[in-house]
Amino acid sequence: MVENRPFLNFLTHLVLILGVLTVVFPVYLAFIASTHGPTDFMSGIVPLLPGDHFSANYGYLLGTGESTAGAPPFLLMLANSLAMAIMIAFGKIAISIISAFAIVYFRFPLRVPAFWLIFMTLMLPVEVRILPTYKVVADLGMLNSYSGLVIPVIASATATFLFRQFFLTVPEEMMEAARVDGAGPMKFFRDILLPLSRTNIAALFIIMFIYGWNQYLWPMLITTEPHYYTVVMGIKRLASVLDGDNQWNLVMAGVILAGLPPVLVIIFMQRLFVKGLVETEK
């Protein structure tokens, strides 16, 4: 700080506190709503203090679920989301790290075209080419399956670039020393590059986990059997049916359940998250 101005300091904290309150308030309100019974909304205004239906609402959603609203038990949907997010994050990192290894540590005729092909995926988000992609997945018989949920989205240009960037900073001597000692490419990759990339892998895993967990349009198209529903698409179905019944307490409990896991990941691994976010954009 350049100089001390008490009034400005006060203003700074005021702005930040107001900012934090604005950012947190919708979630606070949703949580409060999720602890009330369905009749508590009849007065026409949302209560601002917790009610006593916390365990009833969450227990009902987690164990039974609103199956008439197309929402199977939330435990099942949460498990599906978790499985999908982990598989997507793992898959993206696995195929990207070996691609980057090939691009940096080998010289072969189709190297540059391959790089550009990977780059192109950046320009083709699912939302843009949705109908033909759906058709491909349907033709391959991958509807209503975990492979259909995961495989079409695990190509990753950003992850490949990140690893390429990182591999380029690894000192040349590492590889020369490994070669002198008689290590082949895969041994070098396994015993030297992978351990060196640990932090990058962890940071990227967080970003990709959040990306995978928050998938919405793709699971909505690929899954028609409730058995494969993920939680983020589940809450939308829940909302569109229960809005008519004024059961906002259950809808908001669903929103909290769907949002909590990735938010916890960010809060507890903030350093890695920030690193991952800033580096993938470089």
């Binding site: 700080m1 350049v2 100089e3 904290h13 702005v15 900012g19 950012v23 919708p26 309100l29 949703a30 909304f41 205004i45 949302v46 195929i95 070996i98 691609s99 290894f101 090939a102 540590y105 080998f106 010289r107 190297r111 391959a114 092909l117 990977i118 192109m120 320009m123 083709l124 939302e127 843009v128 080419r129 949705i130 109908l131 033909p132 992609t133 491909v136 495989i151 079409p152 695990i154 190509a155 590889m175 070669r179 490419p185 959040i210 967990w213 919405y216 983020v232 939308k236 909302a239 809808v251 908001m252 769907a258 949002g259 990735p262 938010v263 809060i267 903030q270 998250f273 976010l277 954009e281």
Partner: protein, 294 residues
Amino acid sequence: MQTKRTVFHSRVLPYFLLAPQLIITLIFFVWPAAQAIWQSFLRQDPFGLKATFVWFANYTRLLDDPDYLNALGATFVFSVGVTVLSMGLSLLFAVCVNRVLRSGRFYTTLLVWPYAVAPAAAGLLWWFMFNPSVGIIPYLLSFLGYEWNHRLHTGDAMVLIIIAAAWKQISYNFLFFVAGLQSVPQSLTEAAAIDGAGPFKRFWTVVFPLLSPTTFFLAVINITYAMFDTFGIVDATTSGGPSQSTNILVYKVYADGFIGLNLGPSAAQSVILMLIVVVLTVVQFRWIERKVQY
């Protein structure tokens, strides 16, 4: 393109290593994109039995379609609204956090988590805040004499999705602004202070211009975000309504293709969207090259 000075020698290994990524890219990205381009030049008969090649008819028809022009307009208003609102607030928060060094981390933690909330969930959170029957904001607005109803009023619906989308993006912009502010040399602000510039003048004449690469980069990222990553928000809150006022381009592609099953025009929309992403990506990467230079 860069490699290592010395490389491993193997004829087949690099192809094996690249194969998974390339196969997925070809099957699920390049092939469908090519299909979309091809179909955008075709017109199917009503029974889907045969398709005729119609050159650019799908495109010209699209650009004459008032619904499509409306979607273009809505997308423009929406992206600008989200970008300005969320970048403005984030910059304000970032400048504040940059001033309070000790408690900065605490505030940062409280500001970054909305990044993790799924767009659909963010939409539902604000949908509940703005719910015409029980929401708290319509309740407060009613004291001002304004009757909020995003199911009926087109402007209200647009405001709702802009706020929901901007809320989710604040954390991202905030982190990049903080990083940008920390790279502004302290000596410059100190020099300006010695020359008698107050805090506000210092910000506008010294810090803000130095921040312009970050600002430009974030503007591109935010427009991309608003155009392509907000499908969940629109689908969970307004579904494009009322009377198409929030029917932004990505939502319209989905609605026309999956619900309307209108293959040719939907494919033409996909191709236009692809061109927009290509332009945005190129602009974004040009920016990165400029950053490297200075």
